[in-house]
């Protein structure tokens, strides 16, 4: 009975640990100032053992943090050093190569002490409103232009906040109050996790997390390896052309299944860009792993053991850009990585993988300024999604984020944030690729500065050139369009200007179709027409 009771107690504690990190993440969600965190769930939170191995992670809106955070903690342990860690400490960085890929993401790690014994770490990451530099956009030529860099250091020691860091931060960022507010929110969310963990350990009488960690790791590793063993053996190659900043960029991936691992190799991908669209490998790896997990082990929770079998290798290129490459918009290409990997997996698992979709979110950062006295300045960020690819047994989802898991914001809230008018935000007919199953529709958005205002905006768009491809005979979705209402074409990336009285018009890409259009049922076609998803 004792062994059996022990088994059950372990299971219950694992559940509790997952609840602890969900609570940690929720605290951050509710206190954050950054729009992308509070409205869109762009954050992550997790708990680690003293060796820095991730035990559990909250499910949030960002696969991009899946294992970036897992690796970040190891850097913190190495650089701070165990001998310099004390109860009440919190450590911080926004190093793109040691954190989550760009300066806007702040990662905080806090040691968790039970008495004077180190029992684990809590880590969290969130996207803050501003980090200075050129602002959120692709125009930097190196990471030095993209904002303030905070190397791994102490945000707080024994509960006392590093006042010098805060002063330097305030001097370097726009919206300093909100940025500093978010730093405190991050630290507070780790505190919540720490308090819950210690309460759990005291309730159960647990001196450390060793035994629980072994239990979690052995269970998830076994389940993950079982899934990998069931995959066919081989190597499959896929390439994809994307917009880039000023010229198309080729991405290439080779997915190879081996004994107990699946590797994605990115040899063949184009070289480093001069613009801020490069991706540190840690972020590429997160999205590659996410795609593989969706197919291979969607129901197995993320932790050190379940992520370890998925590996990524790459020579230096746009998906493995070293310091000091500019990386501000690393999410655009990061979001393309799942379609790239899924295209290779589709050859290994025919009939199982959805068609390509819009991929990257169509984010837009607007910097609104008055043209006459008495107006208002405002910084506004919007998230918008095109269509997902059709699935082997269903139409694609219209205007739905994938691979990102973020939510859009209400336009009523956006219009309260600053002087803009959103005239239109609705589905884009005829944008889903035809097929036995139709690709999801993109959407059309029209934005105008409010009377007496103009704006500069940072474009973060893709799939304006090559459209999302169909699969197994399905046709491509519609490619994207970015223009002014007078027909002037705009660039997919970089800062651009919108004068007073003009509207910005965005047509977001639709998803690719799946299967031969000949096989689409007449009922589905009639329904498409009556709803106006298709007009001809």
């Amino acid at each position: 009975m004792t062994d059996q009771t022990q088994e059950i107690r372990m299971q219950v504690m694992w559940n509790r640990l997952i609840s602890v990190v969900e609570e940690q993440a929720m605290t951050l969600l509710r206190t954050a100032f950054s729009t992308s965190v509070r409205e869109a769930g762009d954050l992550s939170a997790g708990v680690f053992d003293p060796q820095g191995r991730m035990l559990a992670q909250a499910v949030t809106g960002t696969p991009g943090h899946v294992n970036t955070m897992a690796e970040a903690v190891l850097h913190f342990i190495a650089e701070i050093g165990r001998q310099n860690m004390f109860p009440g400490d919190t450590y911080v960085t926004n190093d793109p190569w040691k954190g989550t890929g760009h300066l806007h993401d702040i990662t905080m790690v806090s040691p968790s002490f039970k008495g004077d014994r180190l029992v684990g770490f809590f880590a969290c990451t969130a996207h803050v409103v501003d980090v200075g530099g050129r602002g959120f956009g692709a125009d930097g030529k190196s990471v030095y232009e993209e904002g303030i860099q905070i190397p791994i250091m102490k945000f707080a020691e024994r509960g006392v906040v590093n006042a010098d860091l805060i002063r330097i931060l305030r001097a370097n960022v726009r919206e300093a109050n909100q940025v500093v507010g978010d730093f405190y929110s991050l630290a507070a969310c780790n505190d919540v996790g720490h308090q819950r963990l210690i309460a759990m350990m005291e309730e159960i009488g647990l001196p450390n997390l060793n035994q629980l960690g072994d239990f979690i790791f052995s269970r998830t590793r076994a389940a993950t390896l079982e899934r990998i063993a069931a995959l066919p053996r081989g190597a499959w190659v896929n390439t994809m052309i994307t917009d880039g900043y000023d010229q198309p960029v080729k991405l290439q991936a080779t997915v190879e299944t081996r004994d107990g691992t699946v590797n994605v190799d990115l040899t063949g991908t184009d070289g480093i860009s001069r613009w801020g669209i490069n991706v540190p490998i840690i972020y590429t790896k997160a999205y590659a792993c996410y795609a593989m997990k969706c197919v291979v082990a969607p129901d197995i929770p993320n932790n050190w053991a379940s992520l370890e079998p998925f590996t990524v290798s790459s020579p230096e290129n746009i998906l493995n850009a070293p310091f000091p490459a500019p990386v501000s918009l690393r999410h655009v290409f990061g979001h393309m990585v799942p379609d790239l990997v899924l295209g290779a997996l589709a050859q290994a698992l025919p009939g199982k993988i959805l068609a390509e979709g819009a991929g990257a979110l169509w984010n837009i950062h607007m910097s609104v300024k008055p043209t006459t006295p008495g107006g208002q300045r405002a910084e506004i960020l919007m998230f918008n999604s095109g269509g997902m690819g059709a699935r082997p047994e269903a139409d694609g989802l219209s205007a739905t984020a994938f691979p990102s898991g973020v939510m859009t914001m209400p336009i009523e809230a956006t219009e309260h944030t600053g002087p803009v008018v959103i005239w239109r935000k609705e589905l884009r007919p005829d944008s889903g690729g035809d097929g036995q199953y139709r690709g999801g529709l993109g959407q059309i958005i029209e934005i105008e500065p409010a009377k007496g205002h103009m704006m500069d905006f940072s474009a973060m768009f893709d799939r304006i050139g090559p459209a999302p491809r169909g699969r197994d005979g399905g046709q491509a979705g519609a490619n994207g369009v970015a223009m002014l209402d007078d027909g002037t074409k705009l660039r997919p990336k970089g800062w651009q200007h919108l004068p007073e009285g003009r509207r910005l018009v965005l047509h977001l890409p639709g998803g690719g179709g799946y299967g031969d259009p000949e096989n689409r049922s007449p009922e589905a076609r009639a329904d498409d027409l009556s709803k106006g998803y298709v007009t001809k």
């Binding site: 009975m1 059996q4 009771t5 088994e7 059950i8 299971q11 219950v12 559940n15 969900e22 609570e23 929720m26 969600l29 509710r30 206190t31 509070r38 499910v59 809106g61 805060i166 919206e175 300093a176 909100q178 500093v180 507010g181 405190y184 929110s185 507070a188 505190d191 309730e203 269970r219 076994a222 389940a223 079982e226 997990k293 969607p298 129901d299 197995i300 993988i353 959805l354 999604s385 699935r391 047994e393 269903a394 989802l397 205007a399 984020a401 939510m407 209400p410 336009i411 009523e412 809230a413 219009e415 008018v421 959103i422 239109r424 935000k425 609705e426 589905l427 009556s530 709803k531 106006g532």
Partner: protein, 696 residues
Amino acid sequence: MTLSIRLGADIGGTFTDIALEVGDRIFSTKVLTNYSAPEQAILDGMDAVLAEAGLGYGELQIVIHGTTLATNALIERRGAKVAFLTTEGFRDVIEMRTESRFDQYDLNLRLPAPLVPREDRFPIGGRIGASGAELAPLDEAALRALVSVVSQGGYGAVAIGFIHSYLNPDHERRARDFLATCGLPISISSEVSPQMREYERFNTVCANAYVRPQMASYLDRLQERLKERGARCPVFMIHSGGGLVSVDTAAEFPVRLVESGPAGGAIFAADVARRFGLDKVVSYDMGGTTAKICLIEDYAPKTARSFEVARTTRFAKGSGMPISIPVIEMIEIGAGGGSLAWVDPMGRIQTGPESAASEPGPACYQRGGTRPAITDADLILSKLDPDNFAGGAIKLSTANAASAIAAHVGDRLGLSPQSAAFGICEVVDENMANAARVHAVENGKNISDNIMVAFGGAAPLHAARLCEKLGIDQCLVPPGAGVGSAIGFLKAPFGYEALASRIIGLSAFDPAAFNGLVDGLKETARRFVAQGTSGTILCETVAFMRYRGQGWEIPVPLPDRPLTAADAGLIRDRFRTAYARFFGRAIDGLDGQGAGLEIEIVTLSVKAADERSAPTPVTLTTGTRSAPAAQLRDVFDPATGADLPTAIVTRDSLAAGDRVAGPAIVVERETSTVVTSPFDVVKQPDGSLLILRKGA
């Protein structure tokens, strides 16, 4: 004073519960819900309780009714064909939702279809801006042309939802006037749900229109049938916020009836809290398919401004639809007596959300169920008496329960049936504990500061273990818990909550405009309440506030008097205190850098309710004498992990003040109250059982 004769009727998914209050006596019954003629079940139940009480329909003074019919219509998509008029450029708001997936890893995810399909959504030119000013005039020609389309389109109802109408309802009202000649019921979003956020508001107005014809006809029929039987009393409806509204209001705003049954349960628990004078209570209601947890402070259940109904996938957050109306806030998880246990790929025991329901039921019911449910595990752990379940109505098979648990859980994990049953109970209890803990945190509370009130058939079996996990020292199990919601209806005040979204920065606080807004809300709320009562009406004003730039607002109670410019400081202080309670500390001026962040009000709420007379108080007793156990049986105890000799006593055999040392099981007709080893149990003067931590 004449005897009060009041009747509560709660139509639930499986049962229709009737509770008749005659003075201080309660007569109650449960009858099966009748889906084709819901009013018939009510009348059958009323016949039974009135006969038992020796009364006739004519003697009833009030009938209070709550129903899941509106919820069911939304879940089963059995509503009217609705024409939805919306702002040009925003035809697809209710279809595009939040543009996200509720499950990150499921590539074959299906999203629920919008309530109104695209062909029935009609964009109309005209635009109100974020300041409430008109940016583009209403397209009257388009509206005129639409009249015949809607009249001849086979529609049953019309919904109108325009951008920023919560600030300026002019376009919505004018559009309603144009459509009036169609002869259809018209719902406008600025009346149904005047809150910012277009997806939630539009979906709410569509839901209102969708259930309106059906609910209106049902309410007509019910009143008609009651009259036929001689009832002369008024009928009032319980709404999701836990108050009473007239049938006319209910017919106009039927979306406010969604989730009214669970609201009754929370009011029931709030009444228990008031009688015992407990200012911090967590109610725990566990039935056949779900468990519901609600926080009750100062005898009032927590309320929220929106919730999600009709979840399509495993109770997953985001798989349903948002309804923005005032609601008693509770967390509901797929954990009931019928919830099924299974083993996941990591060899972890999981419970629910799939349920064995009443057919085939748990394996031990012997009605063909072969998969193990929570009730099977409870039986194997000797928490239930197989010969005396539901008053002996259902004979339970321990052998069936053991073989189902072995086949689906025990054998896979190498656990004995008893260990596996322990595992199943531990997992379901842990899930409920986690949900309760997180719910408390979401509301800035600490769960262990509360006293639990447990009701519903399965709650008393699990409450003590839940208290162990949550660090709660006391739990009350009131009598009559089986029809808690219907009894709760009888305790509900006449109440209405009016809301308005208005962004007001405290640095530019304008008391005159603010007072005008609050007065308008008060008038609206009082008007609804005055339909049901001539008593004193009390108002409570709450501002939902945040630091400018944040997206989550916290409730801050305001004084019930006109405010002056100087009160901006008072509001700021109250906000900072509330913020610190939720999130640890207020964050403006944290590092001494001047004024710091702007604090703003986003939504104002005024709750009006009539004053209730206080119930007869009961003093909580921790026991005056220890009652010996008549019988001892070995029962598995989760805290010690051992089989312990456990006192078995019947609830009726205990007198007020009797204290029985745990571990113990108190058995009664409907269920059993399990008292684990860290607790004792004390019978209260009103018949309740108090589970009390030893030494506390």
